[in-house]
């Protein structure tokens, strides 16, 4: 029998080691696996490289991990936000390394790892600072930049439903990077609102097949929690 469910977040992240590269799902707070991140902070691993679209919002989740000084480097597309004060301070103090990646390249480089692609040519970023020093090529009269996969030891992601085989179904725009990171990391760990019996998920609607997921932890959604509107994003 296969059982990928774990009793608690602490057990699920117990082997994340110093120096690990950890992909963390979420776009802002939508899809951010906050309880797994809290468990990772409690676990104490240091010198982490984090892959996330942003660099933390407010003082929780990714921001809390940064604030605890566990992160050596962050790979992301949009660190500067109205509520990214934790990152901003660390960055200005030179205490965190930033690899800024266009969002589509971030997504595609993560997908490439999961799909076994060695490298790919993309038009995004050609002629910009973010492609400096990268190999380029003209294909069919257009300029492309060569981009490489982003590898990771672990992925922490969040979904709505999971089962003991690791199948996952997400919720609305909280899906974002989850399916890509699950496939890319050597060990994908998912927190889900609800673990359901095998066979309850419609096989037509499973978004992340269990083959990509090693561990599933049930973390119920906060019941009756007030849903605060997030702050408005700064001008892009």
């Amino acid at each position: 029998m296969i059982d990928k469910t774990f009793a608690c977040a602490a057990d699920a992240v117990a082997d994340i080691h110093d120096g690990a590269t950890v992909m963390i799902g979420g776009f802002g707070t939508a899809g951010m696996p906050s309880e797994l991140i809290d468990a990772l902070i409690a676990r104490g691993a240091r010198e982490l490289t984090i892959v996330n679209n942003n660099a933390g919002n407010g003082d929780t989740g990714v921001a809390a991990l940064l604030k605890a000084k566990r992160v050596r480097k962050i790979i992301c597309s949009f660190p500067r936000q109205v509520d990214s004060h934790v990152f901003d301070a660390l960055y200005r103090a030179g205490e965190i390394e930033l690899e800024l990646v266009p969002q589509g390249n971030l997504a595609e480089r993560i997908r490439a790892t999961g799909a076994g692609i060695g490298a790919f040519y993309t038009r995004t970023g050609y002629g910009t600072l973010l492609a400096e020093g990268k190999e380029t090529r003209m294909i069919d009269g257009r300029h492309y930049v060569l981009e490489h996969p982003i590898h990771a030891d672990f992925a922490l992601i969040k979904a709505r439903y999971g089962d003991r085989w690791g199948n996952l179904v997400y919720r609305k725009t909280a899906r974002n990077f989850g399916p890509l990171m699950a496939a890319a990391a050597r060990c994908a760990i998912a927190q889900v609102h609800e673990i359901v019996a095998l066979g309850e998920l419609d096989p037509e609607s499973v978004v992340t097949p269990g083959i990509f997921v090693r561990r599933v932890v049930e973390i119920p959604a906060p019941s009756g929690a007030a849903v605060a509107a997030p702050p408005v994003e700064s001008h892009r």
Binding site: F27, G28, T29, A30, G31, N53, S77, F78, P79, R80, Q81, S84, F87, D88, Y91, R92, L100, V101, P102, Q103, G104, N105, L106, A107, E108, I110, R111, T122, R123, T124, G125, Y126, G127, T128, L129, L130, H143, Y170, R171, K172, T173, A174, R175, N176, F177, G178, P179, L180, V207, V227, A228, A229, P230, P231, V232, E233, S234, H235, R236
Partner: protein, 211 residues
């Protein structure tokens, strides 16, 4: 400006509205047209903001504001979402801008200031991916410098990617023969517009057929 952009978006168009000023375009879309909004965090068929109290933290736009999903909407992950952008499937995107050059180069992600924290998001993907790239920005900076320039001095988002510029003064097409003014605010003389702009432009209304 937002209203002026909205008028130029066709029925059936797939459109991505960037963070900030471009987001306002959604409020002005003509009610007799069905226009499908894409938000790069994974939703096609985005609807307006929800009523107060109905916000869902899992249903947001690229600016992380709460939104709704229309009938016919679909959710997808980031690689699929950016495939829509990078694969040339969007009819149009509307972006903010710091500068646009005569060649259509766009600068909108980084001031280049030493202490600035850069953030790029999906701007570079939209710039190269959408069939039409519209930039909406003030004609001049607060210091009175033209944001339409011979060459961008800020770091670029994409090269030769802008198709049309909407400013508080005019609508300007980027064409192979240079910038062409296709509309101006009422009462503005072309010569005055030219004086406020950093580069030569031609007046589509005054000029004869393109050379």
């Amino acid at each position: 400006m937002a209203a002026r952009v909205a008028r130029d978006i066709d029925n059936g168009a797939y459109v991505n509205l960037g963070i900030g000023l471009p987001t306002l375009v959604a409020n002005h879309l003509p009610p007799d047209r069905e226009i499908i909004l894409h938000t790069e965090n994974g939703l096609l068929g985005m609807g307006p903001a929800p009523a107060a109290g109905d916000e869902d933290p899992d249903l947001i736009n690229a600016g992380k504001q709460p939104v709704t999903a229309l009938p016919g909407a679909s959710y997808f992950h980031h690689a699929d979402s950016f495939a829509m952008m990078r694969g040339g499937h969007l009819d149009c995107c509307v972006l903010g801008g710091y500068q646009v050059s005569v060649a259509g180069d766009l600068a909108n992600w980084h001031t280049g200031a030493r202490d600035a924290i850069p953030a790029v998001g999906g701007a570079m993907d939209l710039a190269i991916g959408a069939k039409s790239v519209y930039v909406i920005m003030e004609h001049q900076t607060r210091n009175g410098e033209s944001k339409i320039v011979e060459r961008c001095t800020y770091p670029v988002t994409g090269l030769a990617c802008v198709n049309r510029i909407y400013t508080d003064l005019a609508v300007i097409d980027v064409t192979p023969v240079g910038l062409v003014v296709i509309d101006m605010v009422a009462g503005l003389a072309f010569t005055e517009l030219q004086r406020l702009s950093g580069v030569p432009m031609r007046d589509a209304m005054a000029a004869g057929p393109a050379e």
